[in-house]
Amino acid sequence: MPDATGLELIAQRVRDELGDDAVVGTAYYRDQATLEASPARVHDVLAFIKNHPEEPFEFLSSLHGCDYLPDAPRLGVHYELLSMTRAERLRVKTRVGVDEAHVPTVTDLWPGANFQEREVWDMFGVEFGDHPDHRRILMPEDYEGHPQRRDFPIGGEPVIFTFNENEMPRWYE
């Protein structure tokens, strides 16, 4: 992993190249480096980090979302990057709110982000502009709601014990 100073170096490089508004913050926790980018510029940040001449992170390990309720902005999209030549990982994340959940797509940089961005849309409702196939992937396509948000109920059916078996509605009623 890039250590704390390495992370700051990367962040400074990104700020120099793309302006101060691209990087929102950095975090170094338990030997893992996280770079937080602003949602509108995240595509440029990732392209810069991917194609950097000296320290590129050319492999996208994972693209996933997270709901940070009750923190705002609520929805986060995480990009786990890996450099195979130096065996280092870097996490880039952006946070968007529920109302303006638009993040540029990275399928032009990594075609493997296709399914993963569809999953983030399906589960969290983050729209990825210009995604070639913006459909639900795991739930039925006409499903309403985004299940993995924290305020979506977990669903399922109530468990019937002897103390509540007379009050619980059965499925055949």
């Binding site: 739930m139 039925p140 399922g156 059916e157 468990v159």
Partner: protein
């Protein structure tokens, strides 16, 4: 002449009838009925059920982890299902007798399973293998149908997560006993589900 099937498990009735026959007190029609019941229908039905029970062909239908244990039963030399009559597992539901629902039934898959079940020909049976197919299992959430018995009539439930191959074999043997005892009338009569036919 209508012959009804009687459960002559009352020993007293059998004894009295036998005594009357020896005395010659049984009239002709009753004697004929007695003979027909025993020789023709009862034996034929039992033979038919015995044949059906010992040649139940499962449809290859595996959903999730329980499918691995099911393949372990169908395909393994250690726990071999063919010795119980399930010689081949047919891929096409039209040729299969039994559907072993092995694995979690999600809401997207439920209409597909129902479609498969409707394509199977009578007589057909369903075994719900594992906890996820019988109830929701441990996944009591938005994505699963809590138990396949919400849309399918199920004959045998096998608990376990996943059930051991021996447990699946025990379930299949129980199903065979059920077929032997209960002559098959088609699942709508068996489960009193008249009125569930599709609209034409």
């Amino acid at each position: 002449m209508e012959v009804t099937r009687q459960k002559l498990d009352n020993l007293r009735i059998q004894q009295v009838t036998a005594q009357r026959m020896l005395k010659g007190d049984v009239p002709d029609e009753e004697l004929e009925q007695y003979v027909e019941e025993r020789l023709l229908f009862t034996t034929l039905e039992k033979a038919q059920n015995w044949a059906r029970a010992n040649a139940v062909w499962p449809a290859t239908f595996g959903l999730a982890c329980c499918a691995i244990e099911m393949i372990s039963v169908i395909g393994s030399p250690r726990n071999d299902l063919a010795r119980f009559g399930a010689e081949v597992s047919r891929a096409s539901p039209r040729q299969a007798d039994m559907l072993i629902l092995s694995g979690r039934v999600s809401i997207k898959m439920a209409p597909v399973i129902r479609r498969l079940y409707d394509q199977m020909l009578e007589p057909k049976w369903v075994i719900s293998m594992g906890a996820c197919a019988s109830s929701a299992g441990m996944f009591n959430n938005y994505a699963l149908v809590a138990g396949a018995d919400r849309f399918l009539p199920i004959d045998v439930y096998i608990p376990g997560c996943p059930p051991r191959p021996e447990a699946l074999m025990y379930g299949i043997i129980k199903l065979q006993k059920k077929i032997l005892d209960q002559p098959d009338l088609g699942w709508r009569e068996r489960y009193k589900a008249q009125g569930t036919e599709e609209r034409a």
